[in-house]
């Protein structure tokens, strides 16, 4: 059935005029059909009132590890090595397909309710992640990261390589491209040149995207330079890793030269401001990224280092922290942050989206602005970035289908998910089952 949002404040993200007041946005099938100030004639279908509501493009979470939702707030407050070695890795070692499915659905419920319509994920058990994303109706770019220190590494026989090929066969392009599979090197510091060349070659050959952790910590960045005289970004470049559409997650310690490289090769830098603060990785040079013309997207990173999937919080953090770091209140205005979370994320994923205009996929979220904390509304864009929360989302639509509306998930049985998380998945990872 066609859907008409009527009399709505539409954040179209149009370059010249990003906000259209009192608009009519018509959705048919998976597409936005028209965006007008006049009511379309002879409309038959469902009407959704936009009174005191804001319609905007769905948010893209361009870097996360969704099964880690099971580890929300687990062992916070330790130093990184203790946290990883004594808590996170042992818990992950207990994971089963069933637990991953539960954690994925939990993360999907959270994402969809807080306005995320697409996400890029890097983890294991990717077939289960793809299954859940497919069933939930969200868009997803999913990759299985390769980690290998084996000098005899062969892509053909490596477990991650085998899984990547299986994933590609089964899921890449599923449901008119709603699910995409990407190649992934976990990071420069967790593999070597033979791995990089093989995985990058496979990605190029099959037109797949690439997803890599880059210069997240100072240690990782400096150790690479000490080893090779080159930064991680430059090292991976020599192996052809950036010669396909690519997402470089974190980029906290990248150099100006790295950013020139990313701009030239059209690599997206995925900014994770909350995780970078929580893990004490540092503050990424996002103003320099924008100056150099690098595409920037936003990600929450795994919930274990956030501790939530709410991209509204991520947007606020992205808008705030660089002002403090540079002592310049004009850097990265709110509209720029909104672009990162919409058009920036779509470009990162190789999707055409992030604006409300005819012909675009109808990935839309509706927010209720009739609330004290969003009143007055001198600027819709400022209110979205600095005052809105994921809980203000009252409707989430992906490709024309309503996935969430007013506290109800249409494609996820939330009670069953919560039961499975509490009674199976959490006891399992804690070694109590």
């Amino acid at each position: 059935m066609d859907i008409l949002f009527e009399h709505v404040t539409a954040v179209t993200m149009d370059e010249a005029s990003p906000v259209l007041e009192d608009a009519f946005v018509l959705v048919s099938g998976r597409k936005i059909v028209s965006v007008t100030r006049q009511e379309p004639e002879h409309f038959k279908g469902r009407r959704i009132s936009g009174q005191n509501k804001v319609l905007m493009p769905g948010l893209v979470n361009a870097h996360t590890h969704i099964p880690m939702t099971l580890l929300r707030g687990y062992a916070d407050g330790y130093d990184l090595q203790t946290w990883l070695n004594d808590y996170i890795f042992p818990a992950e070692a207990q994971l089963t397909e069933r637990a991953v499915t539960a954690g994925t659905y939990l993360g999907l419920a959270e994402m969809i309710a807080s306005g995320t319509t697409s996400f890029s994920d890097m983890y294991y058990f990717c077939d289960r992640i793809a299954q859940a994303a497919a069933a939930a109706g969200i868009q997803a770019n999913i990759c299985r990261a390769v980690i290998s220190f084996d000098p005899e590494y062969r892509f053909e026989t490596d477990q991650a390589g085998i899984e990547l090929r299986e994933l590609k066969e089964r899921w890449h392009g599923y449901d008119e491209g709603r699910i995409q599979i990407e190649a992934s090197i976990h990071g420069e510091y967790t593999s070597h040149e033979k791995v990089w060349r093989a995985v990058a070659g496979y990605a190029r050959e099959h037109g797949l995207g690439m997803h890599v952790h880059v210069s997240e910590t100072k240690k990782e960045h400096e150790e690479c330079i000490a080893r090779s005289g080159l930064t991680p970004a430059q090292t991976l470049d020599r192996a052809g890793v950036w010669d396909t559409r690519a997402q470089a997650a974190h980029c906290v310690w990248v150099s100006e030269e790295d950013l020139e490289l990313f701009a030239r090769k059209k690599v997206t830098a995925v900014h994770n401001p909350v995780s970078n603060q929580k893990l004490a990785s540092g503050i990424a040079p996002v103003p320099a990224m924008l100056r150099q013309g690098v595409n920037v997207a936003l990600g929450t990173d795994g919930v274990a280092s956030n501790n939530c999937h709410d991209l509204f919080g991520e947007m606020k953090s992205a808008a705030l922290i660089h002002k403090a770091a540079t002592l310049d209140p004009t850097v990265i205005p709110a509209l720029e942050v909104l672009k990162m979370a919409t058009a920036g994320g779509n470009a990162a994923q190789g999707r055409n989206g992030g604006r409300i205009e005819a012909g675009m996929d109808a990935n839309l979220i509706l927010l209720d602005f009739d609330k004290p904390h969003l009143t007055p509304c001198h600027s819709v864009v400022s209110n979205l970035v600095f005052a809105a929360r994921g809980s203000d989302v009252v409707l989430t639509m992906v490709r024309g289908k309503v996935l969430y509306e007013k506290g109800e998930w249409k494609t996820i049985d939330l009670d069953a998910v919560m039961h499975e998380v509490r009674n199976y998945a959490v006891p399992k990872i804690l070694g109590r089952l």
Copy 2:
């Protein structure tokens, strides 16, 4: 009527064991009467189920300018001087008592719904702020800031001095101390020694608290040193400003010596991490404050530089930013942040509170944890600081009275407030009325 929270997870903030599972918290009159693991016998009154809910002490917003809620998101993205001189000051010049009342009620509705049970405010038209706070049932410490460059300044005839004395007579101690009036010097850079001595003397004489902006910007801090060879904190100390219970707001650029002084004189540093980032003031040395034993409280600052009153966002920001600034993930653990927003705020205000224990005032908030973004719950404290949002609050109680429950304000006519804000106060400050 007595109220019993039953089978609730109580964040008592007890030093040895801050979280008590499956607790019974009994409230009678304005007090918490008992906190037990056993159900009290013969209870007659209202029972509130605590199943999947968390009860914690109400949050204290220790530095704001509540009528500025009318300026939410107004003229964001300019440099500080343009923002102030071309937008904020001209809008404030249009304020009337009626507009201040509307803005105050709007801010109160937001605060109360997001779990704030007490606030410290510095602004003008303070009688109107006190009236609204009194009617809404919240606790408030209210001060009228003195700004004066007049060399002939006399406290007796100065307008701010007259207002302070009137406020004290009318409101100080109102409703068993629910409303308190404090003395205030706006800042070292907006007045001079004659002012400081007079206002500090009045505060000491009448046992009033003191509220001052201190070293918010680098410029303010360094210009004071250039003028006098002393920091703002030291300069004000020489005039006796810290010889009463005092709140020093911001403290972004304070020195180690300033913090020694604050620890010795028991001055509270009020940390405003969001505002300090948004206005590009910098990052306050909160780890050093805690090391020196300074009491730290949290504030949102005015909504024009935040842009909301949600202390859950403020807690998350306080827990995050110092990890990035120090590159140490263990600084300021979540529980420490929770203390700032509860016991720290109470101490700042000269109130006895911030814990759930028998004999304390029943300033309590209840959060619904039966939600995807708060599941699983490996740590209640981590979830509160890193994953909860103001919108998770389902009940706010001040001194035993329920002010807010499940979307309903009991003491504020929200529709009337929203109407007045939209149709009178906002057009007025924008010069359209």
